[in-house]
């Protein structure tokens, strides 16, 4: 079909006299942003997700067992950033002050000092030492009169105004669930992001090399990937976990070793298609070296496919970490993790708030990301027009 052409661009510019400055965002990207915004669900999901993520980055200021700032005898202390021994506040122990301890609190406040606490006074590993019932503790607002009677009977903390609130209860080790999901959300998303970024870099590079050079390079690389992807990841993880205790970076390394292949196929296909474009041949005729051709002429073509995949890879990465944690091969014991909370929910069916909380947090997080991913996909789809 005939495409409408703009015949008189040069004349128009000549008439205008001055060269127009290029806008900061190109027209294409502006249109993509418009399409993205037109997908209301994805747009709002992005904002909700970003808000939650940025809030979770400041988890220490939201849920912590240390006050943010303490004034003691006219001096300011910042326990959130620095560990102070109890002796600084006139105590007897040389270890770090336990600010939740009523003795320490009295020491600070009796001389007119004060403490500014985060809204939740538990960190992810803080045990509630004065629970109204045996662990796992119910969400405080769910405590019935009968629970309160039992608390008095069995010598637990009575239901009086001094009872500390656990908004979503505690887990079976007495740790506050809200605090754990805030930290757990943060570590999940960060882990997912880091894994996604690294696997994208490696995957794009590998796909680019295969697609650009083709031939034997491509053939050998493809066979290698086929063998590599058939290595059972989970067994490898179990073996590694038996030898060394996995931490964040070791887990990341093992998962990265397998997740980079996700993008190779797409990028390779994109390169195979684009390397025969005439402007690529033209670049070769100009004498450009291969590296320059790949970066300047071919990579931008592969970026659309890559960007479309990224939210989904992020989702996959988060799910992988969660499932490893659920199985107990993930982050070291004691780390805040959504998978571990799910496992606790499975082990403590009498405490449904554990499983439900973990389920909803994971479901909402993954759904938000999928919605964002859908909107990104729409925005990068050249056939999608605004209606």
């Amino acid at each position: 079909m005939d495409a409408p052409t703009d015949v008189s661009v040069t004349e128009e510019i000549a008439a205008a006299g001055i060269p127009q400055p290029r806008p900061w965002v190109s027209a294409l990207n502006k249109r993509r942003w418009q399409t993205f915004k037109a997908n209301k669900r994805g747009y709002w999901s992005l904002w909700i997700f970003l808000t939650l993520f940025i809030l979770s980055l400041f988890a220490e200021f939201i849920a912590n067992d240390k006050p943010i700032v303490v004034e003691y005898e006219g001096q300011y202390y910042w326990p959130i950033f620095k560990a102070y021994p109890e002796t600084d506040f006139g105590g007897i122990f040389e270890t770090e002050a336990d600010y939740r301890d009523p003795v320490v609190q009295d020491l600070i406040t009796e001389n007119g000092g004060w403490m500014l606490w985060p809204p939740i006074r538990f960190s992810y590993n803080t045990q509630n030492k004065n629970p109204p019932m045996a662990f796992p503790v119910k969400p405080t607002w769910l405590l019935s009169d009968k629970d309160c009677e039992l608390a008095v009977e069995k010598g637990f903390h009575p239901c009086d105004p001094s009872l500390e609130w656990n908004w979503l209860g505690t887990d079976d080790q007495g740790r506050d669930v809200v605090a754990r999901i805030i930290y757990g959300f943060r570590i999940s998303v960060l882990f997912g992001l880091v894994l996604t970024i690294f696997s994208t870099i490696i995957g794009v590079a590998a796909g680019a090399i295969q697609g650009y050079f083709g031939g034997w390079t491509d053939l050998l690389f493809q066979r290698f990937i086929e063998i590599w992807t058939s290595v059972p990841q989970l067994y490898l993880l179990i073996i590694v976990a038996a030898v060394i205790e996995p931490n964040f970076w070791i887990l990341l390394g093992i998962l990265l070793a397998f997740s980079w292949v996700a993008l190779v196929g797409v990028v390779r296909a994109e390169f195979l298609r684009a390397r025969n474009f005439e402007y690529v041949t033209a670049a070769r005729a100009l004498g450009l070296p291969n590296g320059k051709i790949i970066f300047k002429h071919l990579l931008p073509n592969a970026m659309v496919a890559t960007l479309t995949f990224m939210p989904f890879i992020l989702n996959g990465s988060i799910t992988t970490l969660t499932s490893l944690d659920f199985l107990g091969f993930g982050l070291p014991p004691g780390s805040p993790s959504l998978g571990e909370l799910l496992a606790q929910g499975k082990d403590n069916l009498q405490a449904p708030w554990l499983g439900l909380t973990a389920f909803f947090v994971i479901a909402i997080m993954l759904s938000l990301l999928i919605f964002v991913g859908e909107a990104v996909r729409d925005a990068l789809d050249p056939r999608k027009t605004l209606t």
Binding site: M1, D2, A3, P4, T5, D6, V7, V9, T10, I13, A14, I18, P19, Q20, P21, R22, S26, R31, Q34, F277, E278, Y279, T281, A282, A283, R284, A285, L286, G287, L288, P289, K292, K296, H297, P300, T385, L386, T387
Partner: protein
């Protein structure tokens, strides 16, 4: 058939396209009529709205982005624009059928020829089984497919371009439509095949007493085929009338411009004393065919087979041939973009053994301009970036002011305002883009330029401008051209000497006046007849 006075009346048709906030009026108040058995040609450049007008008749436009704010299309007294989808389906492919420009993509690659044609019969006539097969065979024979019975089970990729277009025509004719819409039916085909297809269309039209709406930009085709002509420009019909009147007494300025815009002028006389810039001797490009488990080489596709080229300073060697004759491969082999056998001598130095590092400094002397100005410019780089890219590699030492100045000079040389260098390729028309591509090559001050079908993707009037530009640049810079084209009109306007390629071998070679005036081989004769007269020659000389 009814005896209604007119078969199709298009009255004040308007088509709008909406993209976001922007509304483009692609077709404005277009009216025309076609009688039974008549051929009407819609002529115009790309973007003039001729295809959009034709697609509106069957409502094949991308609705709802497209809309018809006004107008009427009456086919046998029925307004097609008001017809419900069911009624439209009854008309499409049955009473009005269509053939498209690109035979490569308009057939479904997964269906056999028989199935594609029989489908039309089944849907509209309910013919199936043996009856359908007999009818398909009959149709294939009518459209001139040899060994029709064997071809029934073929898939589109097993047919040549011309055969595919014949199959498309068979599909279109299956239900003996009253109106055939042919949208640039031969643009994607070689000249010799174009002549055959046009011949076939004329013959079938008479046989079926069909009316035909022919959409084309090629005035030669119009002159041969059409009874009436409507000239379209920017969505409007600027002139209409019987074909002979339009060609002999064009009234509108645009029509006159269109008729006058065939490539003119002649090349500078051949100068045997000029310095030889580039020479090849028995150049071969053979692609191995590998079979079996061990991928042993069992034979070769001889894309270029023993070609001698001699290009002199300030002169043009035209390379002509049908698609698949190895023209482009020859060009790319000379530039060492693909590997080849046989000496390539540039200014007395053999370059065929050079590796890519050794080639790099030579790249600035040997440049190439490609066929498709839409594909040869990276869409993500500004014009300035595209043009200066070669300079950054070849002359990394020059200052950025100097580089800017050279880019500006190159743009001026190709007739563009240097101020456009901050803009992106998509903001330019095809002809302007081709100028940019030429500027990219020129900025390196090459000695030798390969022009690989630089005009075939362009409109006629733009073609003439590009040819003039190239001739002018050659005169000013004493450039040596290797001009690859299937369009003999353009070649005649530019080349001093000519090389006719067929299946990778040279069929005829010589000074261009001699070849045009006294072609020696049958193949060249056929090629010339097809190109200049749109006449077919007896079978055997050319492929089908």
């Amino acid at each position: 058939m009814t005896d209604k006075p007119t078969l199709l009346t298009v009255d004040k048709l308007c088509v709008d396209f909406r993209a976001g906030e922007k509304v483009t009026h692609a077709v404005k108040d277009v009216s025309f009529k076609i009688d039974h058995g008549e051929t009407l040609a819609l002529v115009g450049e790309s973007g003039s709205g001729k295809t959009v007008s034709a697609l509106s008749i069957l409502q094949l436009l991308p609705y709802p982005a497209a809309s018809h704010p006004g107008g009427e299309i009456c086919f046998k007294g029925e307004n097609l624009l008001a017809l419900p989808p069911d009624g439209l389906r009854h008309v499409r492919g049955n009473q009005i059928s269509m053939i498209f420009q690109e035979p490569m993509t308009s057939l479904n690659p997964l269906h056999t020829i028989e199935r594609q044609i029989a489908e039309v019969l089944r849907i509209h006539k309910g013919i199936t089984g043996d009856a359908a097969r007999a009818r398909v065979l009959d149709l294939l024979t009518k459209v001139g497919i040899q060994n029709a019975e064997e071809r029934l089970a073929s898939y589109p990729h097993q047919l040549s371009g011309g055969q595919r277009q014949r199959v498309m025509i068979a599909m279109a004719l299956a239900n003996e439509p009253d109106l055939l819409i042919a949208d640039e039916p031969t643009t994607a085909l070689d000249v010799t095949i174009q002549a055959q297809i046009l011949e076939l269309l004329l013959q079938l039209k008479a046989e079926f007493n069909m009316a035909m709406l022919l959409i084309t930009h090629d005035l030669g085709i119009v002159r041969k085929m059409a009874d009436h002509v409507c000239v379209m420009h920017q969505g409007k019909i600027v002139e209409r009338g019987p074909t002979s009147d339009i060609f002999e007494r064009p009234k509108d300025d645009y029509t006159r411009h269109l008729i006058a815009s065939e490539p003119k002028g002649s090349p500078p006389p051949a100068d045997g004393s000029a310095k030889t810039i580039l020479k090849t001797d028995d150049l071969k490009v053979w692609f191995p065919i590998k079979r079996g488990f061990l991928r042993r080489t069992v034979g070769h596709v001889k894309a270029v087979d023993g070609v001698n080229v001699d290009v002199r300073e300030g002169q043009t060697l035209g390379v002509v041939g049908e698609s698949g004759s190895g023209k482009t491969t020859l060009g790319q082999a000379i530039l060492r973009l693909i590997s080849s056998d046989g000496p390539i001598v540039y200014l007395g130095e053999r370059i065929d053994g050079f590796n890519s590092k050794q080639m790099r400094p030579l790249r600035k002397d040997l440049q190439i301009v490609f066929q498709d100005p839409y594909g040869s410019l990276s869409p993500r780089m500004s014009i300035g970036q595209i043009i200066e890219e070669g300079l950054l590699i070849q002359n990394p030492d020059i200052s950025s002011e100097d580089r800017e100045a050279r880019v500006a000079r190159a743009l001026e040389e190709v007739g563009l305002d240097p101020k456009v260098r901050d803009r992106y390729p998509h903001e330019f028309s095809g002809g302007q883009r081709q100028r940019i591509a030429i500027a990219r090559a020129l900025v390196l001050e090459p000695k030798f330029l390969i022009l690989d079908e630089p005009t075939s993707a362009l409109d006629v009037s733009v073609q003439a401008q590009i040819v003039d530009l190239l001739r002018d640049l050659q005169r000013r810079h004493r450039l040596a051209y290797l001009f690859i084209s299937h369009d003999l009109k353009v070649v005649r306007a530019l080349a001093n000497s000519i090389l006719v390629l067929r299946h990778g071998k040279v069929v005829e070679q010589g000074a261009s006046q001699d070849v045009f005036a006294n072609p020696k081989t049958d193949y060249t004769k056929a090629l010339l007849a097809a190109a200049f007269e749109l006449e077919t020659t007896p079978a055997g000389a050319v492929s089908t």
